[in-house]
Amino acid sequence: MSESEPDVIDLLVGVEKGSRLDAIRAQRPEARDNAQKSYLTLFAPKFPGEMTGEERYALATFVAGLHGDAAILAFYRDGLARQGGPSGIAAAVEGEIARGAAQGPYGCYPVGPLSVEDKAGPIHRVSPANRSALGARLSAALEHAHLLVFRPRDASPAALQSLLDAGWSTTGIVTLSQLVAFLSFQIRVIVGLRALAANSHS
């Protein structure tokens, strides 16, 4: 993977060189370049640390699937397939996408005046069969990713402790959290710019 790899946001929005959207993105060149650099550093890291390529793409496939966008899901699913790991992982991730469908954001506020805004919703736990396919580390990562995607205000030290207990280090949790949070950004830029591309005002 290299810097010459196509810009993922342009690719998934369908931005052609010289188009109206290309001109709009060109006016925020640092944001455009660094959104792509964020993608590259998460999916082709110079210093991979403890998080494997398979873990990165499996998590991304799950997150893209929860956002319900077919093209983005296909992009990360293809990336997972390219990792060449056991096919049971991909199948288990697909199963968890179907089991994990929800509508966010929901969750609870710290007890107080905002408690009237607490909104209930599913707390995702990987199924026993998929847990054996995914292993403890990836299962814990998927459960945490579901929390980050749909109910980030439910986050807690206990949720992080579950990751630590499943074998993630503090640094690994930072990378995992960045990956899910970055995708929450990238997916929304793609969805937003796609809508803008379809709405030409002349």
Binding site: I24, Q27, R28, E30, A31, N34, A35, K37, S38, T41, L42, F47, G49, L66, H67, G68, D69, A102, Q103, G104, P105, P110, V111, G112, P113, L114, E117, L147, L148, F150, P152, R153, A155, P157, A158, A159, L160, Q161, L164, T170, T171, I173, V174, T175, S177, Q178, L179, A181, F182, S184, F185, R188, V189, V191, G192, L193, A195, L196, N199, H201
Partner: protein, 202 residues
Amino acid sequence: MSEKTIAVAHADRPVVFTQDEIGWAPWLEPLAADQLTDRHWAGLVDASRAKSPYFMLLARDPEILEARTKTDKDIFYNPAAGLPRAERELSAAATSRDNGCIFCASVHARFATTHSKRREDVQRLLDEGVGVDIDARWNAVIAASVALTSTPSAFGQGEIERLRAVGLDDLAIADAIHGAAFFNWANRLMLSLGEPTAAEKK
């Protein structure tokens, strides 16, 4: 044996949305100053960020922190045309209000106030929530941010048309999209790696 999270004393934990300056405490161990290598300093971008436990925690993966920070700066600080800074901050504050990030909302509500001089209107967003009726233009920016914050996304032609109707051009609409999308990244880190704390007594 796995690592452990950090316990934070809850005594004065903020439980409402506020424009006051509040603090933030990590649930995982940030890097210590003497652990920083050139690679970490590059990731921090601004050396002054070494004073922040949030950035010192994120510095554990410096490459994604650097790309994240440069994306953030161009979206919010690039002064060339597009959406006025006050309304970029409004998109950040509205997104943070919807996801439930009391800390992010406090910072960006304050910035929205500084740049708009409309402290009372900003406070109404915090007090009443994202359904608040302020004026047609602010309502449209808030509604677009909320639609994009939903998972799966609820953002589409309706939001774009409404932004056009209140005077936003293509670049301004793209700025609103990026402001809300970026805070879906930032909120998830701030909410899940630590918690807001009371303002330092002065």
